[in-house]
């Protein structure tokens, strides 16, 4: 059972960060989907709701997405989806249901770095940066490789590139976690592939347009064997290419 001794809703990010680092067991609350299943005691749970991080802003170059924006907000944001070939919507549409996606936050999904994350796999093929309190603005690819540490994900930036992207996944039933998820963006001279739920977390694989040779590390877990995932890498690669090559707005 989850126990929370104190609940704090700070007025600034600095205050939030100070609270977070005050006790090593203090935690930031995201959408709480996973957290509430834990059997832990949190001295102070920190809610970022009062910091205005629930907005999606847009300028000519990029989207700025607050960490508290819900998955549902982002999947129904028309301009964002049109600019990114709907990869985000395609990635999250199978995450349980709208009630859950109305709670789960983009920042929470990014910070948690779950190995099965469809959110990370979809954003990783885009030109996506993460702004954290400690590291400032770094690429999502770099953030994913960092160890867990006391930090606050504040914003996610997604560049407008006019490139074509796609997301596909395989699940054992409609709202299950992915057996394997995959995304791809086609650049002028190469493809940027990402494979996640291998079962390890999504990773970037770049390759030439005319020579697709992917050596994706896979392993066994409850949802699929290494052998099956290896086959899926081939299958999903073909599906991604078809989607990217045939994409019509």
């Amino acid at each position: 059972m989850l126990r929370i001794m104190n609940y704090a809703s700070p007025e600034s990010l600095d205050e939030a960060y100070a609270l977070l680092t005050k006790n090593k067991k203090n935690m930031i609350l995201g959408g709480m989907i996973w957290l509430k299943m834990e059997d832990i005691q949190i001295p102070t749970a920190i809610d970022l709701s009062k910091l205005g991080l629930d907005q999606i802003e847009e300028d000519d170059a990029e989207f700025k997405i607050g960490a508290m924006v819900t998955l549902r907000q982002l999947e129904t944001h028309q301009a964002f989806n049109e600019a990114t070939c709907y990869v985000f919507r395609d990635a999250v549409k199978d995450i349980v249901g709208v009630q859950l996606r109305n709670l789960a936050t983009v920042g929470g999904s990014i910070y948690s770095r779950f190995s099965f994350s469809d959110v990370i796999c979809s954003l990783l093929c885009l030109e996506c940066d993460v702004q954290t309190h400690k590291h400032g603005r770094i690429s999502l690819e770099e953030f994913v490789s960092l160890p867990y540490e006391k930090d606050i994900v504040e914003y996610i930036y997604v560049k407008k590139t006019n490139l074509l992207s796609a997301f596909v996944s395989v699940r054992r039933s409609a709202t299950d976690l992915s057996v394997l998820n995959a995304s791809c963006t086609k650049y002028a001279d190469h493809y940027r592939f990402c494979f996640g739920a291998r079962p390890a977390i999504a990773k970037v694989y770049n390759c030439d347009l005319d020579h697709i040779d992917l050596d994706v590390y896979c392993a066994d877990n409850m949802r699929g064997s290494k052998e099956y995932r290896k086959k899926l890498v081939e299958g999903l690669t073909q599906k991604l290419l078809r989607k990217v090559e045939s994409y019509v707005g």
């Binding site: 249901g97 709208v98 009630q99 109305n102």
Partner: protein, 153 residues
């Protein structure tokens, strides 16, 4: 922690523990329509509206609803009865245990989606499990409900 939450139109002031989940708090306030079907945020039985948006009350801290408005099926008796009659005409409610959360989400869907296709309906309601009905009768009820009045105009 002291909170003020509007539940079904009525302002409630309460001193709640930080870890109290909205689901348990609502049931303690007599909103028995709100049910718990799982521990993993998968079933949708506990769906309520927060400021009109469907959420899982099993995964929501009560303190995070301070200053906000919560609606349960107790606050939507007329709408529940109206849609519920379409369910009953199909026998779709069966054991009824998932019905409140399901109906909450159907009513939210009605507000959010315009002329949804069958696939859009299924996608919106994917997070509402039902073990009795096999979903077909629920779909018949939804479609009849959404097209109600069409024949009379």
């Amino acid at each position: 922690m002291l909170v003020k939450i509007k539940v079904n139109g009525k302002l409630i002031q309460d001193d709640v523990q930080p870890q109290t989940l909205l689901l348990d708090w609502l049931r303690d306030r007599g909103c028995y329509s709100v049910k718990r079907g799982c521990d993993t945020a998968n079933c949708g039985l506990c769906t309520v509206l927060r400021d009109g948006t469907p959420i899982l009350s099993c995964s929501t801290l009560t303190v995070r609803c301070d200053g906000r408005e919560i609606t349960t099926l107790e606050g939507l008796q007329k709408e529940a009865g109206e849609f519920g009659m379409f369910m009953a005409k199909q026998g779709a409610e069966q054991c009824g245990f998932c019905s409140p959360g399901f109906i909450m989400n159907v009513l939210a869907m009605e507000k959010e989606l315009v002329n949804p296709s069958d696939d859009e309906i299924r996608a919106y309601l994917a997070g509402n499990l039902c073990r009795c009905s096999g979903y077909m009768s629920q779909m018949r009820a939804i479609k009849a409900y959404l097209s109600r009045g069409e024949n009379h105009e």
